[in-house]
Assembly symmetry: C2
C-alpha cells in the first residue's frame, strides 16, 4: 500500500481539499478528502484523473511544424503524411511511437486509442509477422508507460465517388488488407495484455464499402469500434451521391452505431445525424486542435452531448499534445460559433478528457476507490497557473505544468521528467531520419 | 559590443543559419548569417524578434481561471472584472502588473500596449497624484524588463442605448475623467522615458460620445491611438440605433482612423467597415484567445489585411499569455470559418506578433542592423518543438519553450528564468489578496 497526499484534487464530487490516495495493486484502495498528510508522499498543486487520448495517429507527430511552408494547404499536409508513412518500418515506428507516447505521458495521458492503419510494407506486402507494426505500437506504449488500445483499422478502398469506391492508390497500399476476412484473421492474432487492449476501426465510409461493415461489426462485438465520421464536407457529398444518405445514416443502417462505438470528428452533421448518434449513445470523439489545424470546421459537440452522446477527446495528428488545450478548444470552438460562454462546465470538459471508456478502459479516469490508480498532479505555482481557482484549472494549465503522472499505481512522470529521460531527444532522434533526403 | 550566436534565426529575409548578432548601445550593430560561432554567447534553438503585446489590461490576469464556475457567462466575467478593479490601488496594481509583465517577458514579449482605464479611486476621486495608477504601470514594466506604451484611455459614458449615452455606473466611476479636457490635462502630466511611451485610447464608441472624439484626436496627433471596435454585436446595434451608422463609420467620419490608429478586436464588421479600415491603413489588433474565451466571435482578419490594414496581436484579458498561441489562433480561427489552411503564412503570423509599430516602437521587432536589440531564443529540443522545421516554429512552440529574452540589449530572461526570480510566486502574492473575502 502506497499513500499519496495532495492539497487539492478534482474528485467525482467536485473540488476537494487535503486528499489522501491509498494505492494497492494498481488501484485506489481509498480516496479520502480532509485527511492528514502524515507520512504520505506529497503531490504538488491539484490532482486530476489521468487523461484518455481517444484518437491518435502516432506517426503524424513527425509532421508537426513541417506542413505550413508558404501557409500550407490540406494537400501539403496529406502529401507529407503519405511520405512519412512510406518510410515507416516496425523498427522506426517503435522508436517514433515510444517518443510520442512518452510526450503523451508528460501531458498526463494514461490511455491512448491508436487508430492504426499503416499495417504493411509500402508495396502492400505483409511483414513476416503481419502484425509487426501493431506489435511495435504496443511495445512503444509499454516502454512509455501508457495503456494502449490498438484500434486496428480496416482500410479497403482509396476513396468514394458518385460511381462508387476507388481502388487503393500506390501510397495507400500499406494500409489495406484487401478483404474484411483477411483483416479479421490478422486481428485474431493480436493478443491483449495487462496494458494493451485490441479494438477495431472502420477508417471511414470512404475507405470501407458498405458490404464489409456487417462482418466487421460482428468480429468486433463487445469491443471498442471507432470510425472517422464526416470530417470534411466532401465525404458527405460523395456518400450522398453514391449511397443516397449521410455517412451517419449509412453507419446507423448497417448496425455500426451504439454505446461501444465512437464517431471521430463528427464535424459536418445534419440534425438527423445528431439524433441518430445521440439515440444510439455513440460517443463523439472531438479532436479540436486537429480540426482547427486541418481547417475541418467546428462540429456540434454540445448538441451531440445534449442528444445523448458521451464526448471524448483526441489529439489525432498531434499538432499539439496537450489535453488542456483540447478541453479549452472544445469549449472555445462552441463559444466562437454560439457567441455564448459556458457551453460546457469545467467538469464537463474533464469528463470528456478522461473518457477512457471510449477506448475500452471503463475502470479508469475517476479518482475513487476501486478505479485504476491513474492520477496527474498539476502545479499551481507556474506563470500560467499561479492565482487560479484549482477547481477551474482546466481553463489555465498547459501540459508543461504537469509535475507527476501515475498510471495503474506506477510512477511514469515525476518532477516533470519522464522515466525514459529526455523526451525531446527521443523525438528528435526518431523524427530526423524520417525526413532525411526528403 | 556583445556578440551572440545562434544556429537558426528568423531574419526579415527568412530562416537563416549560423547567425551572429552584434549588439551595441541596445541596438543591433550587425546581424550576419553563415558566420562562425567563435567566442560569441551561444543561444539555443531558433532566434525570433521580440514580441509586441499590443492590447493588455494587466489587471484582468487576476481573473484567469476564476470566471468559469458552472460554465461561466460574459456577465460572470464582467462582475468579477469590476470587483477586482474596485480593489486595485497604486500599490497593489504595481505588484500585480510587475508580475503580469514578468509573465509576458517569459513569453518573449518586449513591448506591451497597456489599454489603461482604472485611473481613479473606486468612488471616482483622483489620487493625490492623478496619474498614480499609470505611473505604477510604467514602474511595473521597468521592473519586469518590458517596454510600455501607456494607452491612457478616455472613458466618459457608461454605455450606449438607442436614446444616447448613459452615465457611468458605480463600478465605472474609477474609469472616468468626466470630460475630454480633464483627461487631456492628466495625460499632459505623463512623461515618456527610455522604455515608456504615452499614447491614448478611446475606450469604445459606447464609452466616448461622438462630441469628444475630435478633441481627443487633436491631443493625440502623432501618437498611437487605440480603440475597442465592434467586439460584440450589441455595440453595433446600439451605434446604429443612436447614430445611424456602424462604429467604424462613426470613427471614420470623426477622423479617428489612420495609420497611427489601432482598432482592437474588429470582430463584427461590414464589408464597408473593412474597406474604411483598410483604406485608412488602420491597424487591426486581434486578441484571438480572448475573443474565443469571451465568446466574441471570429473577426475578418484576412479580409482586413487584404484591404490594407496591418495586423497586430494582443493577449487582452490574459486568459493566456503566449504569443505563439495568439499567432496560431489567428490562423486557426480563419481556418475554422473558411475551411481552408494557409490563410496566413508563418511569416505573416510573425509580422503580426512583432508589430511594435502599432504601439509606437517602429524601430523594434526585426532582427536587422539598426533595430532595437530585442530577441527571443526558442528551444528546439522540448517535447513540443523537437523535430519541427525551425522556419515553422510558430506552429509548434509555446511560451514555456522560451529560453532567452533580450530587450534593448538587456538580458531579461535566461535559461527560462526571469531576472526577478520566481514569477509564479510574484503572481500568487499579487493575486491572492485581491480575492480575499471575495
Amino acid at each position: 500500500m502506497t499513500r499519496y497526499w495532495a492539497e487539492h484534487a478534482l474528485l467525482p464530487t467536485g473540488l476537494a481539499s487535503s486528499v489522501s490516495f491509498e494505492v494497492a495493486g494498481g488501484r485506489f484502495a481509498a480516496v479520502t478528502a480532509n485527511s492528514v498528510h502524515g507520512d504520505a508522499i506529497a503531490l504538488p498543486g491539484v490532482v486530476l484523473p489521468g487523461f484518455a487520448d481517444c484518437h491518435s495517429h502516432a506517426f503524424h507527430r513527425a509532421l508537426r511544424g513541417r506542413t505550413h511552408h508558404g501557409g500550407g494547404t490540406f494537400w501539403t499536409w496529406r502529401e507529407a503524411m503519405y511520405a512519412v508513412a512510406a518510410r515507416l518500418t516496425p523498427d522506426s515506428y517503435l522508436r517514433l511511437a515510444t517518443a510520442v507516447y512518452a510526450e503523451m505521458a508528460l501531458a498526463g495521458i494514461t490511455s491512448v486509442g491508436e487508430f492504426h492503419y499503416v499495417h504493411h510494407q509500402p508495396d502492400g506486402r505483409p511483414y513476416t509477422d503481419p502484425n509487426a507494426m501493431g506489435e511495435a505500437l504496443a511495445e512503444a506504449a509499454r516502454r512509455a508507460g501508457v495503456r494502449l488500445t490498438l484500434l486496428d483499422t480496416l482500410y479497403l478502398s482509396g476513396g468514394l465517388s458518385a460511381d462508387g469506391h476507388l481502388a487503393l492508390s500506390a501510397e495507400q497500399r500499406s494500409f489495406g488488407d484487401g478483404t474484411v476476412e483477411r483483416w479479421a484473421s490478422r486481428l485474431a492474432r493480436l493478443a491483449p495484455d495487462a496494458t494493451t487492449r485490441i479494438g477495431g476501426a472502420i477508417h471511414s465510409v470512404r475507405a470501407v464499402p458498405r458490404v464489409a461493415m456487417g462482418d466487421l461489426v460482428e468480429v468486433l462485438r463487445g469491443r471498442p469500434l471507432h470510425v472517422h465520421l464526416s470530417e470534411q464536407p466532401a465525404e458527405n457529398a460523395a456518400c450522398e451521391a453514391f449511397y443516397g444518405c449521410t455517412p451517419t445514416r449509412l453507419l446507423h443502417d448497417d448496425g455500426v452505431l451504439g454505446p461501444l462505438t465512437t464517431a471521430v470528428h463528427a464535424t459536418h452533421l445534419t440534425a438527423d445525424d445528431v439524433a441518430l448518434l445521440g439515440d444510439s449513445h455513440t460517443t463523439g470523439c472531438f479532436c479540436p486542435t486537429t480540426e482547427r489545424d486541418l481547417a475541418d470546421g467546428i462540429g456540434p459537440a454540445r448538441a451531440l452531448r445534449d442528444a445523448g452522446s458521451p464526448l471524448s477527446l483526441g489529439s489525432d495528428q498531434h499538432a499539439v499534445i496537450d489535453p488542456f488545450e483540447e478541453m479549452r478548444s472544445l469549449e472555445g470552438h462552441e463559444r466562437l460559433t454560439s457567441l455564448e460562454r459556458g457551453r460546457f462546465t469545467p467538469n464537463d470538459l474533464l469528463l470528456a478528457a478522461t473518457a477512457h471508456r471510449s477506448i475500452g478502459w471503463p475502470d479508469a479516469g475517476r479518482l475513487e476507490a476501486g478505479a485504476r490508480a491513474d492520477f496527474v498532479a498539476v502545479r499551481l505555482d507556474s506563470p500560467r497557473t499561479a492565482g487560479v481557482d484549482p477547481g477551474q484549472i482546466v481553463h489555465a494549465a498547459t501540459a508543461s505544468d504537469i509535475d507527476t503522472v501515475i498510471r495503474d499505481g506506477e510512477e511514469v512522470v515525476r518532477g516533470g521528467r519522464h522515466r525514459l529521460g529526455d523526451v525531446g531527444r527521443l523525438l528528435t532522434e526518431a523524427i530526423a531520419p524520417l525526413w532525411e533526403g526528403a
